[in-house]
Symmetry: D2
Subunit: 335 residues, 4 copies
């Protein structure tokens, strides 16, 4: 039975507590939050859970085996490092850290101590993304041509991080999972419409070895909500629309057809073919539940989480390079 | 009565002939196409129209007052220049020319000879775009924050021009018309998935003075057709979806709200407000008909077309710079 | 402070308990459910609430001022009558009773005792329906021509009531609220696809005085979920789509235009006009919260609920007549 | 080479002339229209086609082998009968005639003379309907449960026929083709909102042997355009949305699951299952072209058209019974 402590009981924390409460091999033993009213809510809903104002006090609790961190990004590194140094396994919200340097330290610390370090890349545990992963793995899409996502709506402006660190992190974690390779360089553009506030809309291109490319549009200032991703391969193309109630994943049997390049005197012409569309049935399990069980299972078995520290670090590398490129009006930055 | 000659009777030419045939003050007197079967079609449908295989022969026809050019981009400059030098008014397909240098020569030639030079930026004559133009002009959107468009589908790969010159040209002409200002620099990324073929998907950012930004996603290799543009201002936001049958333009009374920056000790917080949505009724007149009448009217009155050579040149400047940036993996290029 | 007891803690009961808990002038003092596991859940979540297996025991509790009944339809009459006879105010799930005769008895009993009797017609407390009600009341739709609704999806077959009593009851309560008049006769068709089970799809027409008509399609066996209502008047038309995330109510400035009937020799021709579409902003308050406050307010002030027993009875009258017509393959039945 | 004459060059006639012009084994030799300006248009576009003001004159033309009739319904019988009596094959617009009696006479006349009589049920020649027909024929839908269609928009009020004869005729012809059986009785409701004008909105239920049912909503007075049909079977369900640009036909692997009725003491419970969705690729051939070729082929080979006089008569029978039921406020009428 793994004892879980959750740090941060704001927007996401309650979901974490609820889902870890449902995991067979785990129990939530502690919740940390500076705000008395948040602690009071926990005490009312979960009388058996111990609450703390200070994470340091919680770390002294011997019933805590693992710490789940759902605080603002700026505190991820310090809290994770303290937990690891106290011998606790760690699951931390995305993005894992604010800098690559901090991320590397966490990965090294966890490795040295033989502790599980996992990043909460929730989307890769959804049935939609796992179904696409399966299609990619089976080779059904063929050679991957591009990944294109749009994640925009009228949303709260964060005041400590740009929209890239707030929204693109979701899509980068999906891309990382599906493509299984990392970009070699990035180019990003964007703008802050409110003086003194972070960049509220951004466009990010990731370049890969070969002819794969990825692009992300993230925006806090859009009149309509869009959550659409295109994943295009040489054999099939996928549209992943997270706002669709039932058919979130659509697979199109479409593609280009090349003429015969050996016919001298004729350039290879590019035609296209269209076939059926297919929307696979998706499970309705809550992703966070699947993820919570995976974290506990990794602790118990010593296996590596699908969204381990290395994955978290890969995402932070991209975000850090993207931020640099953003300051250079899109000039490419190598990773 | 203005005598019109159309050069190129392929995909777009028939629309030009049909629409100019309906203009009161004009008549189509000549059609030029190298292909005998295309000339035969014209002869059957329009027995009174003279057909030519060679544009030079047509230019000798004294009944021709104006030439409308619907041929591949690479021939735009030469055909337009010949027509102007023969004393004919010119309406040429977009993009106006393949290079800025050629575009400048055309604009100069037309000015010197006092001839009308117009570029077929069809979209700016649609009722949807004109309605948005009216809203922008009335100040209903407030200060313009951004222009974002997506124009993707599974389409024919052109073999002489990249997707930017083929598709982005539409959106750049709309942006140019609506924003009324030109970008100071651009950054573009993209890729060619078929070796030896042009770039088939591209992302283009345009930077302006102040905090206005524009972005374009154009793509010949997408499983679904998308024609969506967001135009966001400080007061209202517009969604222009050209695939909607009836409500192509939706105006959202939404925006951000800033906290009081004078409250010392409190940073200006960014909230948002949501109000009604409104879809104005749009006329159903065919844009090309409106445009044809405008061209004839400009010839008759000597007034400047809304999509004159200068507008065509502004678009070519952006495309040329974008192509340079594309080769530099997104590095910004000044205009 | 009004003491509330909720009978039935199944699908809807938890929502009732949660919402009444949030009403200032009320507190939930008792919950009744035969199932021990349901009572245990209540005891865990709401330690101060008294639970009962038998409603009769609860009715002896002097802290209970009002009873909210969320049980299967067949028990509505008996439980409501017992509560009224025990001097408790009653809010009962829709449909109010299984028969008109039972409904009349409840209405009479409540009137005689001066108790509040309310039916949970939740939809009339939604911001969408209230906005349409406002438009109708302001005369913005003009003369009402028709009400047409479709409520279909793949849903659980009830085994005690037909799809009319399960689904059409929602739409009939909205229609009753919006039109403010009752049908004079009805005609219904439908079928049971599973032998021995209730009718699982049905079509119901309601005829009114004048030229207003209403129609309802309800269906448990449809591949897609549809929740769409058209409300058409002589001046404007409304589309109410409950599955839309934000623009649930769309108002179309469209209609027919009659030619001049006085022009002798010419029949009055019917043309049409189209204008703008407008989607008013809607509040996001939960309807059940509004309704709970309304019930408590009616108890405190003695005012008549918007969905009082008379409204509940009107709906049961339609359902009873519709069931008769259904057995006659659509033959009209007067009300 | 079959010589074709088209009577009526209004809305649909030009499509007929254009498509028959493209059929290899046919040529359009004559067009009949009372209006001089319509004849002038034909003469300009098709110089080799002979035009007539009077059908009787055209029938004397020995080059005419077959007559295609695209006039108002009220003239269908007389014109078709004259053509048959002149020894011409006939293709007539839907509905075939205004009465069953007239329809029977046409069918008998054609049979006696060994002439081809076909009704222009265009929809059954579309790739969408043919694909659904194939699925039904293969048994992929299982036992057919219901057919439900909605065909509404803001459209021109006809002044000689009700909306049933104008719009439902489309859906009835599709249903007739797909179900392969005829209803035993019908029930219809509806209303005329403009005094002295035909019924402008109607609801029609068709009852069949067994537990199949069909329903149609047709309406000239709706704010939005809907063209949606559900075809539901025990194994799969189809949504046919004619307004979808590409995925007009969607097949859902969904249905109900019955519990074991042999388990004594337990009633058969009805659950449901959901699986994948699949949208088959559809050909893009124009239906009218396919139909024109089929007509010519039937004439040449003597085979029976898929939409022969018998099919046309079945539809007229339903429409006639529906009109009777409409006058009885939905009372069922046997066929």
């Amino acid at each position: 039975m793994i004892g879980i402590a959750v740090i941060g009981y704001g927007y996401w924390g309650p979901n974490l507590v609820r889902n870890f409460s449902l995991v067979d091999d785990a129990r939530v033993v502690a919740v940390v939050d500076q705000r008395p009213e948040q602690r009071a809510t926990v005490e009312r809903l979960y009388p058996t859970v111990q609450t703390y104002a200070d994470p340091a006090d919680m770390l002294l609790n011997p019933d805590v085996d693992a710490v789940v961190i759902a605080t603002p990004v700026s505190s991820h590194f310090e809290l994770s490092m303290q937990a690891l140094q106290a011998g606790k396994h760690v699951m931390v919200e995305k993005p894992m850290t604010s800098t690559v340097a901090d991320g590397e330290k966490l990965v090294a610390e966890a490795a040295e101590r033989g502790l599980t370090l996992m990043v909460d890349h929730t989307f890769i545990y959804t049935s939609a993304v796992r179904k696409i992963h399966e299609l990619v793995g089976d080779g059904q899409l063929g050679e991957l041509y591009y990944y294109d996502s749009v994640r925009v709506n009228l949303g709260l402006f964060q005041h400590d991080v740009s929209v890239l660190w707030d929204l693109a992190v979701h899509d980068l974690s999906i891309m990382d999972f599906l493509l299984g390779q990392s970009p070699t360089s990035v180019a990003a553009t964007g703008i802050a419409h409110v003086e003194g506030q972070p960049v509220n809309m951004a466009y990010l291109t990731c370049f890969f070895e070969g002819s794969t490319i990825a692009h992300f549009h993230v925006n806090w200032l859009a009149p309509v909500k869009v959550r659409q991703t295109l994943i295009c391969g040489s054999e099939r193309m996928v549209v992943f629309d997270d706002l669709e109630a039932s058919e979130k994943v659509k697979v199109y049997d479409k593609g280009i057809v090349l003429g015969d390049p050996d016919q001298i005197g004729f350039e290879p012409r590019v035609g296209y073919r269209t076939g059926d569309m297919w929307a696979p049935r998706l499970d309705v399990t809550e992703a966070l539940r699947v993820e919570a069980e995976h974290f506990v299972d990794c602790i118990n078995t010593g296996s590596t989480p699908e969204s381990d520290g290395a994955a978290g670090l890969r995402i932070v590398r991209i975000l850090e390079a993207a931020t640099t490129s953003l300051g250079l009006q899109g000039a490419p930055v190598e990773i």
